[in-house]
């Protein structure tokens, strides 16, 4: 077939506006990693199962390996790079993962945190069961999820102004 026309894509990522011309077939995860050089979101399974590529788009958690960059035109996106404050202070979720040992190899962590961020916006004080069903689209092969759940509970407690448990068991 004839040469494919590139398509303009304008997105706001972590508060900064970007415009690029891309092949329509470029996946959003490749756009974020290779065009914007934001490599926090990971490519894990590349088949929409594992959730390592999860980013926040217009307030929703989406798997950026199963979406074209052109579909995100006009969208506002947050990646893990947008979570800490400009002075480096960790977001409550990042602090929770650190304090509660919510990661081992860390590969799933950016996706877990971005998913948990939307979960806590929609449900600021989830039960353990709600956390587990809320992160059902994110796979971790190291932790067994126990400390990930605790990390999210830590963040929920902190964001709700409660005293937080200091360390994982």
């Amino acid at each position: 077939m004839s040469t494919i026309e590139q398509v303009p894509v304008t997105v706001t990522v972590n508060g900064k506006k970007y415009q690029r011309f891309v092949d329509p077939r470029m996946l959003l995860i490749h756009f974020i990693r290779e065009e914007l050089n934001l490599t926090g979101a990971h490519i894990g399974c590349d088949t929409s199962h594992c959730g390592a590529c999860t980013v926040e788009m217009n307030g929703m958690s989406v798997k950026s390996c199963t979406m074209f960059a052109v579909q995100a035109d006009g969208a506002s996106i947050t990646t893990i790079e947008g979570m800490a404050a400009p002075d480096g202070t960790l977001h409550a979720l990042q602090e929770g993962f650190r304090m509660m040992h919510g990661l081992q190899c860390g590969y799933c962590t950016p996706g877990m945190i971005m998913r948990a961020h939307v979960l806590l916006k929609e449900n600021p004080d989830p039960t353990e069961e709600e956390i587990r069903s809320g992160i059902a689209g994110n796979l971790c092969r190291c932790t067994g999820y126990q400390n990930i759940v605790k990390a999210i509970q830590y963040a929920a407690a902190k964001l709700n102004g409660r005293t937080v448990q200091e360390a994982a068991e």
Binding site: G51, M60, M67, A136
Partner: protein, 288 residues
Amino acid sequence: MIPGQFAYHRPSSIEQAVRLLADLGDEARPLAGGHSLIPMMKLRMAAPEHLIDLGGIADLKGIRDRGASIIIGAMTTQNELIHSDLLAAKLPIIRETSLLIADPQIRYVGTLGGNVANGDPGNDMPALMMCLDAAYHVAGPSGNRTIKARDFYEGAYFTALQEGEIVTSVEIPVPPAGHGYAYEKLKRKIGDYATAAAAVVLSFSGGKVATCAIGLTNVSETPLLAEEAAEILIGTALDPASIAKAVSAAEAITAPASDGRGPADYRTKMAGVMLSRALQRAARRAAA
């Protein structure tokens, strides 16, 4: 994995989308939530030369109350179905079923229209729509028409849609107040297709089953409407003997494949187990 090249089109009206599909013919595919099509494209099992993104068409969105029925735009996402107060009040089985589809991220993007229209027998909504006797409103090059869900599915990935037609909305008759309902799905893990699943909507009158409809997911080339099984239950008190008879009748119409979800015989039995559980749960929820 990188899909093949394609040209991208983002129409802003149903008319434009239909015209594009008609003009571009075989080489064009509509894109809804993309969670079936994009994985296929990444595996190069699908390689359309043109993608018509339906995401920019406002008329395909929204859930409207028509009194006796509810009309749901084809591009309404599963997450929107889950959070609709109208559906929670009038058609709670939609929420129950939506929560069993894929995972939270995919439900923000996956659409009702895509789920019912692509003809994948593993999808959950088709059997539910047959159970609810929904109708699909369709737009195409020769105008608009309506196809009953019960007449829509012809084979795996084969539906009554003609070339250039898209489903624009789904119209669902509202079951009577006090109806019982349940969607029971056996799956190996979150995000999996059903090993077998059953949708039940029923109502009682004077302690006896007055109306009953049963849909079965992923136990044949198409979703199934278990008419004989439902017929057996009408007029009974949903006693164990009647349930056993209905389960046998439902199992008899299944023809599942043997695959990673189990041998065919097992999947047939699981369809029966899901039906039995769905009937009992629906009965507990129904007003006597």
